[in-house]
């Protein structure tokens, strides 16, 4: 832990100076540290994460926000940022209160995982990654394996002139492998990973069996055909369903896009968008969720926001600005990647609730189509409402039965059409698993977000990828 509270008096002093020039100011101090180990067929390495820490100051200038930031907490660095804001605020000709409500939350949440990764030696982290490597590469036909085990602690201290004072530390851990098969100049791979907010106990879920399964999958893909292309029935696996919820639907519920008239969902608030079996929520308070936040970067506690309730679009995600503009309340979704990045409305953990279809029923109902497995990426289109999801592999479904594997593919089409065409949502036999992803807002500002869901059957365009 960086112990940002050691710098609290300097941060208070900087905030106080800026606060004399405006109706509202805030400061977020942030820093991180951690270790990652990577092992492959030729090398292994341990790397310490950059020891980068600093603070960003934001103030209301009457008609816009102004910000300045500096790495380090020494008086000279903070003074530079403060002087810049004083200059901007002096030029402001429209004094007044900022939009929305200022947080007055005071709190501290410092996790204590059962087995903190920070108490593991670097050697132990490397040995774990070597285990993953060994398990995977032992499968005949695997040319190379890239395994990794890493953790990082993200510490944040938020103060504002309304009295909020929020301190929290998130411990994130993640481990996984990519198994690579290579034959006659063609390479294929598959991957698997585990992780979340917590400690080494989360890595227990990664077993030799998982490693071998992913290795066999990579080998199978070498001789698998490309997927069929065109509009067809598609059955999404758990992770792909979660990625759909995030990329295709969730970005359109970020209400800063509503304020900009940049969301196809804005005029549909209150409408029935899908079947009654469809429920989607975002929840920054999920214990252990990869995207969970004790407090967002405006000082609001992480919370659960219902987005689609039994098929009806009922809610959106707000920061103070969008909440003020649209008569809502802030939902604990204002997030910065780090002290160098601006705040946006962002998701935390977004999930689709399980339904009551068995896997057999879903496959039978699909008839002919594909199963999409092992998501790799997605892309939002908040205005147009189109979707793009990419998966590493899949299977064909023919005559209501799962048949041979197919290689990587992309899914596209209209999100609203996809929601309307949902014909089945699977059961979950276990607790909802929150996957570990990173999300950008547009083409930057990456931060950890979680998503999850059950198998889900609908219809969309499938193409090569």
């Amino acid at each position: 832990m960086l112990n940002l509270r050691d710098h609290e008096s300097e941060l208070d002093r900087a905030l106080g100076r800026v606060g004399q020039r405006t109706k509202f100011a805030e400061v977020l101090a942030q820093g991180s540290l951690g270790v990652i180990a990577n092992v492959d067929s030729k090398s292994h390495r341990a790397s310490a994460l950059p020891r980068v820490a600093g603070a960003v100051l934001r103030a209301w200038a009457g008609d816009r926000w102004v910000e300045a930031a500096a790495s380090g907490f020494d008086r000279a660095s903070l003074n530079g940022a403060v002087a810049s804001l004083e200059h901007e605020l002096a030029a402001s000709t429209a004094p007044g209160n900022p939009p929305g409500e200022s947080s007055t939350t005071v709190g501290s949440q410092v996790q204590r995982p059962p087995r903190p990764m920070s108490e593991m030696s670097v050697e132990q982290v490397v040995e774990l990654a070597k285990d993953y490597y060994r398990w995977t590469s032992a499968v005949p036909g695997i040319k190379n394996t890239q395994s990794s085990v890493g953790w990082w602690d993200d510490e944040r201290l938020y103060l504002n002139t309304a009295g909020a004072r929020c301190h929290h530390v998130a411990h994130r851990v993640r481990g996984g492998v990519a198994a690579i098969a290579f034959e006659n100049g063609k390479s294929e791979y598959d991957y698997t990973s585990v992780g979340g907010l917590g400690g080494a106990e989360l890595l227990d879920a990664f077993t030799e069996k998982h490693a071998q399964e992913v290795a066999r999958s990579a080998i199978e893909l070498l001789n698998a055909p490309a997927p069929p292309t065109g509009t067809m029935n598609v059955l999404l696996d758990n992770g792909t369903t979660g990625t759909f919820a995030h990329e295709s639907f969730g970005h359109g519920t970020e209400a800063d896009q509503f304020v900009r008239d940049r969301s196809y969902l804005k005029p549909l608030l209150g409408d029935q968008l899908g079947p009654e079996s469809l429920t989607i929520w975002d929840d920054g308070s999920v214990p252990g969720g990869w995207g969970s936040v004790a407090f967002d970067d405006e000082g609001h506690p992480g919370e659960k926001t219902m987005l689609i309730d039994r098929g009806r679009f009922v809610g959106a995600l707000h920061d103070r600005d969008s909440a003020a503009a649209l008569g809502a309340k802030a939902t604990g979704n204002t997030r910065r990647s780090d002290f160098l990045s601006r705040a946006y409305v962002r998701m935390t953990n977004i999930c689709i609730e399980p339904g009551d279809w068995s896997m057999d029923e879903l496959v039978r109902e699909t008839g002919d189509g594909v199963v999409l497995e092992h998501w790799t990426s997605g892309m939002e289109d908040p205005l147009g409402g189109q979707m793009q999801l990419k998966v590493r592999r899949g299977h064909r479904i023919e005559n209501g039965k799962i048949t041979g594997p197919v290689t990587s593919m992309a899914l596209s089409g209209s999100v609203l059409g996809f929601l309307k065409d949902i014909r089945g949502i699977g059961k979950l036999d276990q607790r909802m698993e929150i996957e570990t992803g990173f999300c950008g807002k547009g083409h930057g500002d990456y931060l950890p977000t979680g998503d999850g869901g059950p198998f889900l059957l609908s219809r969309a365009v499938v193409g090569p990828a």
Binding site: G34, K42, S43, R45, A46, S47, A48, L49, P50, R51, V52, V56, R64, W65, E67, A69, S71, G72, S77, G80, A81, S84, V122, E123, K143, N144, W152, A178, I180, G185, K186, S187, P225, A226, T229, G230, T231, V259, R260, D261, R262, S341, T376, S377, D381, L383, Q386, Q388, K390, S408, M409, A410, S412, G442, P448, V461, V462, G463, P464, A465
Partner: protein, 478 residues
């Protein structure tokens, strides 16, 4: 270098503390100052700056059992205690690292023999807020008076970076550069036809704020946004596809940067030198010296002078990209391709010092060919699809597969651009095994004029065929 006065001395100060440490070691430092303007449909929403990030990374290379233990630690604390702590951390992790090279040769000198590409915008260097305000005003002006067109979201960012480097072999050098990032959502809405609004999403990376082309670009971007309102998904199947430079920029660097590097060669995943990897008409270079290119610099991030590297000549693989470490392992001198990037998404701010160097590309260049102007390539295609933008090409460095949704494109009918298309996916391999179909192997036309955009300097390409997943009945793969 580059006409910019570099006032930072971070690496030199850190190096003073490292002189007692066993060689070899190197230190790379940056002082990055960012200014940003963010805007929405009602004007400016947020002014940011200065955002100041100053930090360094210490790398130590320890020979152990015939291999090298690489230790790396980045930090923003350049105090004597901070440097000592970073060095200790680097030494610690080096014990648990092993890279298959017996030794490593680090570059020497002070960079005086390096090329000096233009990479510094004087206006940004001397007055970034002023330059940013002037450019943003020109941007807004370029969209004024366009019926139904607005900017729903956008930002312009400038970064001035002072780089310093030093190592145990005597390297002591530095240079300055500027970077610009533009993100823009151009929206078309309203009108009597009642079509839903359309958007063209622009992301551009440059070295300078040049407002000169904005009026023409605004006209083009507005047209794409308007055309998107009426576009329908293209037919699926095998098509002749025309790919302009902006689309190639989204595909080539991320697909080929790994595959054509010493990193892939070490893992036996790179194409063999001398093997056919593309159509005979395809030559591919990596040029780190192009003026105003986003990837250009006098030196790579290890201090080796930049140069132009021919990776593929007339369809045959000729050279790969090496940093000092991979070069040592593979008995090849560094090609000046040691670059640093982000680290697990933990730091942003345009920093490179957060991670140790590895081989990477700068600006991938395909020389202009005999395909003529874009109109001539379209005529040569006869029937096919012009791809103007993919949602995200999602390029995969391990396999070179890419695939993304077609955000906007145009059908080509009878050798002319016809109705707009949107939806469906375009995808495939960029570089395949010899005698297998791929983007590079299926290039049948190369345009005359190259365009520098982001990390490529390429002409428009005609590729025949490529697979489109479109809006029609299912087509089984062969």
């Amino acid at each position: 270098m580059s006409g910019a006065t570099n006032a930072s001395d971070t690496a030199f100060r850190v190096a003073e503390h490292l002189k007692r440490a066993p060689a070899p070691w190197d230190v790379f430092a940056e002082r990055i100052t960012t200014h940003e303007i963010h805007f929405g449909p009602r004007g400016i929403e947020l002014l940011r700056g200065p955002i100041v990030l100053e930090g360094y990374g210490v790398r130590i290379l320890r020979s152990r059992d015939g291999k090298i233990g690489v230790g790396y630690q980045a930090s923003t604390d350049a105090s004597p205690g901070g440097v000592a702590s970073a060095l200790e951390a680097a030494e610690s992790v080096s014990q648990y690292s092993a890279f298959p090279a017996k030794d490593v040769t680090l570059p020497t000198g002070n960079g005086t023999d390096a090329p000096r590409p233009d990479i510094t915008d004087g206006a940004i260097w001397t007055d970034a807020p002023g330059a940013l305000a002037k450019y943003t005003a020109a941007l807004f002006s370029a969209f004024e008076g366009r019926p139904g067109i607005g900017l729903s979201f956008g930002s312009v960012k400038t970064r001035t970076t002072e780089v310093t480097m030093a190592n145990s072999a005597g390297l002591s050098t530095g240079y300055g550069h500027t970077r610009v990032e533009l993100e823009l959502a151009v929206k078309s809405s309203g009108g009597p036809e009642g079509a839903p609004p359309g958007e063209y999403w622009v992301t551009a990376y440059d070295r300078r704020l040049d407002a000169t082309p904005l009026p023409q670009l605004a006209a083009d971007w507005s047209r794409y946004a308007t055309d998107a309102r009426h576009a329908k998904a293209p037919p699926g199947g095998e098509h002749a596809v025309v790919l302009p430079p902006t689309v190639l920029e989204s595909i080539l660097p991320a697909s080929l940067g790994y595959k054509l590097s010493g990193r892939a060669e070490l893992r036996e995943m790179a194409p063999a030198i001398g093997s056919a990897v593309g159509a005979p008409r395809v030559t591919l270079e990596d040029d780190g010296t192009l003026p105003w290119a986003y990837g250009s610099s006098p030196l790579d991030d290890e201090g080796t002078p930049q140069r132009r590297r021919t990776l593929v000549r007339e369809g045959v693989a000729t050279e790969l990209l090496y940093d000092a470490l991979h070069g040592s392992a593979l008995h090849h001198p560094s090609t000046g391709s040691g670059f640093r990037g982000g680290f697990m998404g933990v730091t942003s701010g345009g920093a490179s010092f957060g991670s140790a160097p590895g081989p990477g590309c700068t600006t991938l260049t395909i020389p202009g060919g005999d395909g003529g102007a874009d109109e001539e390539l379209i005529e040569a295609a006869q029937d096919g699809v012009w791809i103007q933008q993919l949602g995200w090409a999602s390029p995969d460095g391990l396999t070179t597969m890419f695939g993304g949704e077609i955000r906007i494109g145009y059908r080509i009918r009878h050798g002319k651009l016809a109705e707009p298309v949107r939806g469906g996916t375009l995808g495939g391999l960029v570089l395949g095994a010899p005698n297998t179909p791929s983007l590079l192997a299926n290039v049948t036309g190369i345009g005359r004029r190259t365009v520098l955009t982001g990390h490529v300097n390429v002409p428009t390409l005609l590729v025949r065929p490529m697979t489109i997943g479109g809006d029609e009945a299912v087509t089984s793969a062969a």
